[in-house]
């Protein structure tokens, strides 16, 4: 392990911590919408007139608890992401961070001086600028992480600030549409951080090093399947975010049928009747034909995703089995096998997610189940992104046998296989692998 290797270990764990904190933030965001608490704090960035860090705990009641926690954890994630940007970008990131931080600090102070209406937003911006300046002040002379990690760091840097701004604007501008965008961007942001975790891992570096001697081939059809399935999941998450942010509860109260039919009546009279029959304990918006259509689409896309991810998992396992056979007893093609295993986890995740979706309906949108549905949605997208990136990195099946150029040598797949520690490939391929592909 060389020095660079040593230094990247903590970076990997820090990226993991940031991604984990983001998942928590996403979960609390899900709780905010599940509890209809998005507007429980009417002001932003202040909280009931208080600086958000000094809002008395005795006031953290009802919906405020979720919304205020969301804001505080968001601040923590923001700080973590700024630090991550500095770490990934290395010493060269100090200058741009200093410039951006300084500008934000000055702009914040200027905004605060405009008048009492702008003071909150001004202080908020100045606070961000201060954190960015602090990151720029860190004098460690660390080298930038390998490409494209510094770039990903900067995308996260701007992403997290846009997210914070969108979250605040959603509150003060009364726009549900901003909430939809905010939620979708959150999912993409989590995916981005998961990719940073993957790319900073030793597993990935070893793979990259091995492939650089072998040459990564053009990608297989499997990669495109995985990309398509992941894109489908993103589309599904956007539908989900739209449904959540219309605050209309369940547009269709039953599953697998819809209003007792395979396809529900959606004419104006029927929709009016649905609304009048609803006796909701909480203040929900009336449902519309559009929302019924949206939920039916969500159900159909769920089915498509199940099939698509199922196909991906099956194809990945077939590939692993084929390359395993080509290599004989020597398990030289560990990355392919890892991909197969992760794909299976992905498929399992989708199954759980589908079940959570059904349970959300059966429980009349219980807040905990609906929130779990959001979290598993984020995990499904992130894992989809991870398998897609890995599969595009791997050589195509025709070349899968090629890497054994130097059996027993220090380079190539054997070395890779030995070094491919452990996250996904510590166990041998189960003998029942074939059953997953049929």
């Amino acid at each position: 392990m060389d020095l660079a290797e040593k230094g990247s270990r903590p970076l990997h764990w820090f990226a993991f911590l940031t991604a984990a904190a983001t998942l928590v933030l996403l979960g609390i965001g899900g709780l905010v919408t599940s509890h209809g608490a998005g507007m429980a704090v009417p002001d932003w960035p202040t909280t009931y007139g208080y600086n958000m860090f000094f809002f008395p705990f005795s006031y953290w009641m009802g919906g405020i608890f979720y919304e205020h926690s969301h804001r505080l954890v968001a601040t923590l994630v923001g700080v973590l992401v700024v630090a991550l940007t500095r770490w990934l970008g290395g010493r060269p990131s100090r200058l741009p961070l200093a410039i951006i931080g300084g500008l934000e600090l000055l702009a914040g102070l200027a905004l605060g001086a405009l008048g009492p209406n702008w003071r909150g937003a001004g202080h908020f911006l100045a606070g961000i600028g201060g954190v960015v300046l602090l990151a720029a002040a860190v004098w460690a002379r660390n080298a930038p992480a390998p490409r494209p990690l510094p770039l990903l760091g900067w995308v996260a840097f701007f992403g997290v600030q846009i997210q914070g701004l969108l979250g605040g604007l959603r509150v003060v501008l009364f726009q549900d549409e901003i909430g939809i965008f905010h939620a979708t961007l959150a999912q993409l942001f989590f995916l981005l951080l998961c990719l940073v975790v993957l790319l900073t891992s030793r597993w990935w570096r070893t793979l990259a090093a091995a492939l650089s001697t072998v040459g990564g081939g053009p990608s297989s059809r499997l990669s495109w399947w995985m990309l398509a399935a992941t894109a489908l999941i993103l589309f599904q998450l956007m539908i989900g975010a739209t449904m959540r942010h219309q605050h209309a509860g369940l547009a269709i109260p039953d599953f697998p049928l819809a209003y007792g039919k395979l396809w529900p009546a959606m004419d104006a009279d029927s929709v009016a009747a649905y609304n009048q029959q609803r006796l909701e304990v909480t203040a929900l918006n009336p449902i519309t034909a559009f929302q019924i259509g949206l939920q039916m689409t969500h159900r159909l896309v769920a089915l498509l995703i199940l099939v698509a991810v199922g196909v991906c998992a099956a194809k990945a396992w077939r590939l692993a089995r084929r390359s395993g056979r080509a290599q004989g007893a020597v398990a030289t093609n560990r990355p392919v096998q890892s991909l197969a295993r992760i794909s299976l986890v992905w498929f399992d995740l989708i199954l759980v997610q589908a079940l959570l979706g059904a349970a959300t309906i059966w429980s009349n949108k219980a807040a905990d189940l609906a929130t779990a549905h959001v979290i598993f949605g984020a995990l499904s997208l992130a894992l989809g992104g991870i398998v897609t990136v890995i599969s595009f990195k791997l050589p195509a099946p025709a070349q899968a046998g090629l890497p054994v150029l130097e059996p027993g040598g220090r380079q190539g797949w054997n070395a890779t296989a030995n070094a491919m520690s452990q996250p996904f490939s510590s166990r041998p391929l189960p003998s029942g692998a074939a059953s997953h592909t049929s």
Binding site: A40, P42, D43, Y48, G62, G63, A283
Partner: protein, 234 residues
């Protein structure tokens, strides 16, 4: 002779109150059995608001008397506009009591002040969600013992939702008319729209859950118009 005297007395009495205008009075009854109201479990379980209730609070979708007298029906005359007395009208008050809006169904004129009080020992946010263009959405904080809030709407709109996002079971509905000829039926199912200029009108009764029923009426000079309406439970 007696009859004439009585008639004269009624006419004199009516003209003493309104020389050229009549009242529209009536009763509203609900036919059929309404669905059972739901328990507001989250309210009872809330650590702050639950303490304010000894019994399980329930929803009030149908407030019905023993003989079917239906409360919370918004009754209004159709086809009149531009007659609002606006901000000069006496403000309508909605209170927040035990983490519930009282009353839950209200009606105001365009521009008329709707004053929202907080009688609770807890804070609320008061969030109005109109849907008609020109009526802005608003969301205001109200601490325990905080100053009254004032809302008003420039455009007519029926059943504007008011809600508290801190306590998601709290909601009220405010109808806005650009004239003063409306009323909300009371617990005895009666309503009174005062001082209606003579003429033919469509009377509209609108209930959140039971829906709408209309009736053609004619308001004659100096005589009250009596109406009996009924709505079906859905």
């Amino acid at each position: 002779m007696k009859r004439h005297l009585a008639l004269a007395a009624v006419t004199a009495l009516a003209s003493a109150f309104a020389a050229t205008a009549g009242d529209v009075v009536g009763t509203i009854t609900l036919k059929g059995t309404p669905p059972k109201e739901k328990d507001i479990t989250p309210l009872k379980e809330d650590p702050n608001c639950g303490k304010l209730h000894t019994a399980m609070p329930t929803t009030k979708f149908y407030v019905v008397g023993a003989k079917g007298e239906l409360a919370d029906v918004v009754v209004s005359l159709e086809g009149i506009s531009g007659k609002s007395t606006g901000a000069s009208a006496k403000p309508v008050v909605m209170d927040q009591k035990n983490c519930i809006y009282v009353p839950q169904i209200l009606a105001v004129q365009t521009g008329q002040k709707l004053v929202v009080k907080n009688s609770d020992p807890v804070l609320h946010n008061v969030h109005s969600v109109p849907t008609v263009a020109g009526n802005p959405e608003d969301n205001k904080a109200q601490m325990p013992g905080g100053a009254d809030l004032t809302f008003s709407f420039p455009k007519a709109e029926e059943f504007i939702k008011f809600k508290c996002d801190v306590h998601p079971w709290m909601f009220a509905w405010v109808s806005v008319f650009d004239h003063p000829y409306f009323a909300v039926s009371g617990a005895d199912g009666t309503f009174k729209i005062a001082n209606v200029p003579p003429g033919k009108y469509t009377l509209k009764a609108n209930h959140r859950k039971a829906g709408v029923v209309t009736q053609e009426i004619e308001v004659k000079d100096g005589a009250p118009t009596t109406v009996a309406l009924s709505l079906d439970a859905k």
